[in-house]
Protein backbone atom coordinates (compact mmCIF):
# COMPACT_ATOMS: atom_id res chain seq x y z
CA UNK A 1 0.00 0.00 0.00
CA UNK A 2 1.13 3.53 -0.65
CA UNK A 3 1.62 5.98 2.17
CA UNK A 4 -1.59 7.81 1.28
CA UNK A 5 -3.57 4.56 1.31
CA UNK A 6 -2.16 3.57 4.68
CA UNK A 7 -2.92 6.97 6.16
CA UNK A 8 -6.53 6.66 4.97
CA UNK A 9 -6.89 3.53 7.11
CA UNK A 10 -4.99 4.68 10.19
CA UNK A 11 -7.03 5.65 13.20
CA UNK A 12 -6.20 8.92 14.89
CA UNK A 13 -4.35 9.59 17.07
CA UNK A 14 -1.35 7.53 16.05
CA UNK A 15 1.32 10.24 15.94
CA UNK A 16 2.26 9.52 19.61
CA UNK A 17 3.46 6.10 18.51
CA UNK A 18 6.49 7.90 17.09
CA UNK A 19 6.87 5.55 14.21
CA UNK A 20 6.25 5.46 10.50
CA UNK A 21 2.72 4.96 9.14
CA UNK A 22 3.46 1.39 8.01
CA UNK A 23 4.48 0.23 11.50
CA UNK A 24 1.69 2.19 13.14
CA UNK A 25 -0.86 0.56 10.81
CA UNK A 26 0.50 -2.94 11.49
CA UNK A 27 0.21 -2.28 15.23
CA UNK A 28 -3.31 -0.96 14.84
CA UNK A 29 -4.26 -4.10 12.89
CA UNK A 30 -2.87 -6.33 15.64
CA UNK A 31 -4.61 -4.19 18.25
CA UNK A 32 -7.94 -4.47 16.42
CA UNK A 33 -7.66 -8.27 16.20
CA UNK A 34 -6.71 -8.62 19.86
CA UNK A 35 -9.45 -6.21 20.95
CA UNK A 36 -12.26 -8.01 19.13
CA UNK A 37 -11.05 -11.37 20.49
CA UNK A 38 -11.22 -10.02 24.05
CA UNK A 39 -14.79 -8.89 23.34
CA UNK A 40 -15.61 -12.31 21.84
CA UNK A 41 -14.20 -14.08 24.92
CA UNK A 42 -16.55 -11.97 27.08
CA UNK A 43 -19.43 -12.92 24.76
CA UNK A 44 -18.53 -16.60 25.23
CA UNK A 45 -19.04 -16.10 28.98
CA UNK A 46 -22.29 -14.18 28.44
CA UNK A 47 -23.80 -16.95 26.31
CA UNK A 48 -22.05 -19.59 28.43
CA UNK A 49 -24.04 -18.45 31.47
CA UNK A 50 -27.30 -18.70 29.48
CA UNK A 51 -26.37 -22.15 28.16
CA UNK A 52 -25.51 -23.29 31.69
CA UNK A 53 -28.96 -22.23 32.92
CA UNK A 54 -30.45 -24.37 30.14
CA UNK A 55 -28.21 -27.32 31.06
CA UNK A 56 -29.18 -27.22 34.74
CA UNK A 57 -32.91 -26.95 33.91
CA UNK A 58 -32.71 -29.76 31.34
CA UNK A 59 -30.90 -32.07 33.80
CA UNK A 60 -33.68 -31.43 36.32
CA UNK A 61 -36.56 -31.91 33.82
CA UNK A 62 -35.39 -34.20 31.00
CA UNK A 63 -38.87 -35.45 29.95
CA UNK A 64 -40.43 -31.98 29.87
CA UNK A 65 -37.51 -30.65 27.81
CA UNK A 66 -37.85 -33.55 25.36
CA UNK A 67 -41.59 -32.88 25.00
CA UNK A 68 -40.99 -29.15 24.55
CA UNK A 69 -38.10 -29.66 22.10
CA UNK A 70 -40.40 -31.77 19.92
CA UNK A 71 -42.68 -28.72 19.49
CA UNK A 72 -40.09 -26.48 17.86
CA UNK A 73 -40.04 -26.48 14.05
CA UNK A 74 -36.98 -28.49 12.99
CA UNK A 75 -37.36 -27.48 9.32
CA UNK A 76 -37.02 -23.77 10.11
CA UNK A 77 -34.26 -24.50 12.63
CA UNK A 78 -32.19 -26.62 10.25
CA UNK A 79 -32.71 -24.20 7.37
CA UNK A 80 -31.56 -21.30 9.52
CA UNK A 81 -28.47 -23.23 10.67
CA UNK A 82 -27.57 -23.88 7.02
CA UNK A 83 -28.16 -20.20 6.16
CA UNK A 84 -25.90 -18.99 8.97
CA UNK A 85 -23.12 -21.49 8.21
CA UNK A 86 -23.21 -20.37 4.56
CA UNK A 87 -23.09 -16.72 5.63
CA UNK A 88 -19.95 -17.56 7.63
CA UNK A 89 -18.40 -18.93 4.44
CA UNK A 90 -19.11 -15.73 2.48
CA UNK A 91 -17.94 -13.62 5.43
CA UNK A 92 -14.69 -15.60 5.72
CA UNK A 93 -14.07 -15.25 1.98
CA UNK A 94 -14.80 -11.50 2.14
CA UNK A 95 -12.44 -11.05 5.07
CA UNK A 96 -9.60 -13.08 3.58
CA UNK A 97 -10.05 -11.47 0.16
CA UNK A 98 -9.90 -8.01 1.78
CA UNK A 99 -6.78 -9.05 3.67
CA UNK A 100 -4.88 -9.80 0.47
CA UNK A 101 -5.93 -6.38 -0.80
CA UNK A 102 -6.33 -7.75 -4.32
CA UNK A 103 -9.86 -8.99 -4.87
CA UNK A 104 -12.04 -5.93 -4.39
CA UNK A 105 -15.08 -7.14 -6.29
CA UNK A 106 -15.00 -10.51 -4.54
CA UNK A 107 -14.84 -8.77 -1.15
CA UNK A 108 -17.77 -6.55 -1.98
CA UNK A 109 -19.94 -9.34 -3.39
CA UNK A 110 -19.27 -11.63 -0.47
CA UNK A 111 -20.09 -8.86 2.02
CA UNK A 112 -23.39 -8.21 0.23
CA UNK A 113 -24.15 -11.96 0.21
CA UNK A 114 -23.40 -12.17 3.94
CA UNK A 115 -25.81 -9.35 4.74
CA UNK A 116 -28.48 -10.92 2.51
CA UNK A 117 -28.09 -14.31 4.22
CA UNK A 118 -28.33 -12.62 7.62
CA UNK A 119 -31.58 -10.98 6.55
CA UNK A 120 -32.85 -14.33 5.21
CA UNK A 121 -32.20 -15.84 8.64
CA UNK A 122 -34.30 -13.12 10.30
CA UNK A 123 -37.13 -13.63 7.79
CA UNK A 124 -37.22 -17.39 8.45
CA UNK A 125 -37.08 -16.70 12.19
CA UNK A 126 -40.03 -14.33 11.79
CA UNK A 127 -42.14 -17.05 10.16
CA UNK A 128 -41.10 -19.43 12.91
CA UNK A 129 -42.07 -16.94 15.65
CA UNK A 130 -45.49 -16.50 14.03
CA UNK A 131 -46.04 -20.25 14.06
CA UNK A 132 -44.84 -20.51 17.68
CA UNK A 133 -47.29 -17.82 18.75
CA UNK A 134 -50.15 -19.51 16.86
CA UNK A 135 -49.29 -22.80 18.60
CA UNK A 136 -49.41 -21.01 22.01
CA UNK A 137 -45.79 -21.78 22.78
CA UNK A 138 -45.34 -18.49 24.68
CA UNK A 139 -45.05 -19.16 28.43
CA UNK A 140 -48.04 -17.84 30.35
CA UNK A 141 -51.72 -18.57 31.06
CA UNK A 142 -52.47 -19.93 27.55
CA UNK A 143 -49.36 -22.11 27.20
CA UNK A 144 -50.09 -25.17 25.03
CA UNK A 145 -48.16 -27.91 26.87
CA UNK A 146 -49.40 -29.26 30.19
CA UNK A 147 -45.96 -29.95 31.65
CA UNK A 148 -44.95 -27.04 33.87
CA UNK A 149 -41.18 -27.23 33.24
CA UNK A 150 -41.84 -27.11 29.46
CA UNK A 151 -42.48 -23.42 30.11
CA UNK A 152 -38.88 -23.11 31.32
CA UNK A 153 -37.74 -24.49 27.97
CA UNK A 154 -39.81 -21.97 26.04
CA UNK A 155 -38.87 -19.09 28.32
CA UNK A 156 -35.26 -19.94 27.45
CA UNK A 157 -36.16 -20.35 23.77
CA UNK A 158 -37.66 -16.87 23.52
CA UNK A 159 -34.99 -15.17 25.60
CA UNK A 160 -32.01 -16.66 23.83
CA UNK A 161 -33.35 -16.50 20.26
CA UNK A 162 -34.27 -12.82 20.71
CA UNK A 163 -30.84 -12.04 22.20
CA UNK A 164 -29.27 -13.89 19.27
CA UNK A 165 -31.44 -12.02 16.75
CA UNK A 166 -30.33 -8.70 18.30
CA UNK A 167 -26.70 -9.78 17.93
CA UNK A 168 -27.32 -10.80 14.32
CA UNK A 169 -29.09 -7.51 13.54
CA UNK A 170 -26.05 -5.61 14.84
CA UNK A 171 -23.90 -7.83 12.61
CA UNK A 172 -26.06 -7.07 9.57
CA UNK A 173 -25.77 -3.32 10.22
CA UNK A 174 -21.97 -3.63 10.47
CA UNK A 175 -21.73 -5.68 7.27
CA UNK A 176 -24.05 -3.32 5.36
CA UNK A 177 -21.94 -0.40 6.58
CA UNK A 178 -18.80 -2.01 5.14
CA UNK A 179 -20.61 -2.84 1.90
CA UNK A 180 -21.74 0.76 1.45
CA UNK A 181 -18.25 2.06 2.28
CA UNK A 182 -16.66 -0.37 -0.17
CA UNK A 183 -19.20 0.44 -2.85
CA UNK A 184 -18.49 4.17 -2.62
CA UNK A 185 -14.72 3.75 -2.48
CA UNK A 186 -13.56 0.39 -3.88
CA UNK A 187 -10.12 0.76 -2.30
CA UNK A 188 -11.19 1.37 1.27
CA UNK A 189 -11.77 -2.31 2.19
CA UNK A 190 -8.36 -3.56 1.05
CA UNK A 191 -6.33 -4.56 4.13
CA UNK A 192 -8.77 -2.67 6.32
CA UNK A 193 -8.90 -4.17 9.83
CA UNK A 194 -12.59 -3.22 10.11
CA UNK A 195 -13.43 -6.09 7.75
CA UNK A 196 -11.67 -8.64 9.93
CA UNK A 197 -13.20 -7.30 13.14
CA UNK A 198 -16.71 -7.42 11.65
CA UNK A 199 -16.05 -10.92 10.30
CA UNK A 200 -14.88 -12.29 13.66
CA UNK A 201 -18.00 -10.89 15.35
CA UNK A 202 -20.17 -12.43 12.63
CA UNK A 203 -18.58 -15.88 13.10
CA UNK A 204 -19.20 -15.75 16.84
CA UNK A 205 -22.90 -15.00 16.31
CA UNK A 206 -22.97 -17.99 13.93
CA UNK A 207 -21.28 -20.23 16.52
CA UNK A 208 -23.81 -19.26 19.19
CA UNK A 209 -26.52 -20.52 16.84
CA UNK A 210 -24.54 -23.72 16.14
CA UNK A 211 -24.97 -24.57 19.84
CA UNK A 212 -28.55 -23.34 20.05
CA UNK A 213 -29.50 -25.78 17.27
CA UNK A 214 -29.02 -29.01 19.31
CA UNK A 215 -30.36 -27.25 22.42
CA UNK A 216 -33.64 -26.02 20.93
CA UNK A 217 -34.42 -28.21 17.91
CA UNK A 218 -32.98 -31.68 18.50
CA UNK A 219 -34.28 -32.76 21.96
CA UNK A 220 -37.01 -35.41 22.01
CA UNK A 221 -36.99 -36.22 18.28
CA UNK A 222 -36.46 -39.96 18.72
CA UNK A 223 -39.08 -40.44 21.43
Amino acid sequence: MSRVEIEARLREPWSELETDPGTAFARQRDGATLGIWIFLASEVLFFGALFLTYTAARLAHPEAFAAAGRETNIVYGTLNTAILLTSSLTMAVASQAAETGLFRRLTLRCLAATAALGLAFLVVKGFEYREDIEKHLVPGAHFALDRGPAQIFFAFYWLVTVVHAIHLSIGIVLVVRLTVKGWRDPDILAENPQVEVTALYWHLVDLVWVFLYPMLYLPGRSG
Binding site: L34, L52, L89, A92, P214
Partner: protein
Protein backbone atom coordinates in the same frame (compact mmCIF):
# COMPACT_ATOMS: atom_id res chain seq x y z
CA UNK B 1 6.05 -6.19 17.05
CA UNK B 2 7.38 -5.72 13.60
CA UNK B 3 5.70 -3.99 10.73
CA UNK B 4 5.01 -7.36 9.19
CA UNK B 5 2.13 -8.89 11.08
CA UNK B 6 1.55 -12.67 10.83
CA UNK B 7 -1.75 -11.96 9.04
CA UNK B 8 -0.12 -10.17 6.17
CA UNK B 9 1.39 -13.46 5.04
CA UNK B 10 -0.99 -14.48 2.31
CA UNK B 11 -0.80 -17.91 0.74
CA UNK B 12 1.55 -18.26 -2.18
CA UNK B 13 3.84 -15.48 -3.20
CA UNK B 14 1.78 -12.36 -3.46
CA UNK B 15 1.77 -10.91 -6.95
CA UNK B 16 2.54 -7.21 -7.20
CA UNK B 17 -0.50 -5.10 -6.47
CA UNK B 18 -2.34 -4.25 -9.64
CA UNK B 19 -5.82 -3.55 -10.88
CA UNK B 20 -6.01 -6.93 -12.62
CA UNK B 21 -5.13 -9.71 -10.17
CA UNK B 22 -3.80 -12.92 -11.65
CA UNK B 23 -6.60 -15.03 -13.17
CA UNK B 24 -6.57 -17.84 -10.59
CA UNK B 25 -6.39 -15.27 -7.76
CA UNK B 26 -9.76 -15.46 -6.01
CA UNK B 27 -9.66 -19.24 -6.42
CA UNK B 28 -7.09 -19.45 -3.62
CA UNK B 29 -9.54 -17.98 -1.12
CA UNK B 30 -12.37 -20.26 -2.25
CA UNK B 31 -10.20 -23.38 -2.26
CA UNK B 32 -9.26 -22.76 1.36
CA UNK B 33 -12.79 -22.13 2.65
CA UNK B 34 -15.23 -24.04 0.43
CA UNK B 35 -14.19 -27.55 1.65
CA UNK B 36 -14.82 -26.41 5.22
CA UNK B 37 -18.33 -25.30 4.26
CA UNK B 38 -19.01 -28.70 2.64
CA UNK B 39 -17.91 -30.47 5.84
CA UNK B 40 -20.05 -28.09 7.94
CA UNK B 41 -23.12 -28.91 5.83
CA UNK B 42 -22.41 -32.64 6.10
CA UNK B 43 -22.09 -32.31 9.89
CA UNK B 44 -25.39 -30.41 10.03
CA UNK B 45 -27.13 -33.17 8.04
CA UNK B 46 -25.58 -35.83 10.28
CA UNK B 47 -26.66 -34.11 13.50
CA UNK B 48 -30.23 -33.71 12.21
CA UNK B 49 -30.37 -37.38 11.23
CA UNK B 50 -28.72 -38.55 14.47
CA UNK B 51 -31.37 -36.77 16.54
CA UNK B 52 -33.93 -39.33 15.29
CA UNK B 53 -31.87 -42.39 16.25
CA UNK B 54 -33.51 -44.32 19.10
CA UNK B 55 -30.56 -44.13 21.50
CA UNK B 56 -31.74 -41.41 23.89
CA UNK B 57 -28.79 -39.77 25.62
CA UNK B 58 -26.29 -40.82 22.96
CA UNK B 59 -28.27 -38.73 20.43
CA UNK B 60 -27.86 -35.69 22.70
CA UNK B 61 -24.13 -36.34 23.04
CA UNK B 62 -23.78 -36.63 19.24
CA UNK B 63 -25.71 -33.37 18.77
CA UNK B 64 -23.42 -31.40 21.06
CA UNK B 65 -20.31 -33.23 19.85
CA UNK B 66 -21.09 -32.14 16.29
CA UNK B 67 -21.68 -28.56 17.48
CA UNK B 68 -18.18 -28.70 19.00
CA UNK B 69 -16.68 -30.01 15.74
CA UNK B 70 -18.39 -27.23 13.74
CA UNK B 71 -17.04 -24.66 16.22
CA UNK B 72 -13.50 -25.99 15.83
CA UNK B 73 -13.73 -25.76 12.02
CA UNK B 74 -15.17 -22.23 12.03
CA UNK B 75 -12.71 -20.99 14.66
CA UNK B 76 -9.60 -22.49 13.06
CA UNK B 77 -10.29 -21.79 9.39
CA UNK B 78 -12.96 -19.07 9.05
CA UNK B 79 -11.76 -17.13 12.10
CA UNK B 80 -8.14 -17.96 11.20
CA UNK B 81 -7.09 -19.03 14.69
CA UNK B 82 -4.85 -21.54 12.92
CA UNK B 83 -2.67 -18.67 11.73
CA UNK B 84 -3.25 -16.28 14.64
CA UNK B 85 -0.57 -14.96 16.97
CA UNK B 86 0.01 -16.62 20.32
CA UNK B 87 -1.55 -13.68 22.15
CA UNK B 88 -4.80 -13.97 20.19
CA UNK B 89 -4.92 -17.73 20.76
CA UNK B 90 -4.48 -17.25 24.51
CA UNK B 91 -7.34 -14.74 24.61
CA UNK B 92 -9.58 -17.11 22.63
CA UNK B 93 -8.66 -19.99 24.96
CA UNK B 94 -9.37 -17.78 27.99
CA UNK B 95 -13.04 -17.47 27.01
CA UNK B 96 -13.36 -21.25 26.90
CA UNK B 97 -11.27 -21.69 30.06
CA UNK B 98 -13.47 -19.44 32.21
CA UNK B 99 -16.62 -20.92 30.69
CA UNK B 100 -15.26 -24.37 31.60
CA UNK B 101 -14.80 -23.26 35.22
CA UNK B 102 -18.34 -21.84 35.22
CA UNK B 103 -19.76 -25.14 33.95
CA UNK B 104 -17.60 -27.41 36.14
CA UNK B 105 -18.33 -25.71 39.45
CA UNK B 106 -22.05 -25.22 38.78
CA UNK B 107 -22.62 -28.74 37.45
CA UNK B 108 -20.61 -30.24 40.33
CA UNK B 109 -23.28 -28.73 42.59
CA UNK B 110 -26.31 -29.58 40.41
CA UNK B 111 -25.25 -33.16 39.64
CA UNK B 112 -24.26 -34.03 43.21
CA UNK B 113 -27.65 -32.82 44.43
CA UNK B 114 -29.37 -34.96 41.80
CA UNK B 115 -27.30 -38.02 42.76
CA UNK B 116 -28.17 -37.63 46.45
CA UNK B 117 -31.88 -37.06 46.00
Amino acid sequence: MSAKSPKSETPKSEPPKSETPDPEGPGIVWRRNLPVWVVLMALLALSTWAAYWPYGRIDTAIGFGIAGAKTALVALVFMQLKHASGLVRIVAACGLFWAAILFTLTLADVLSRMANR
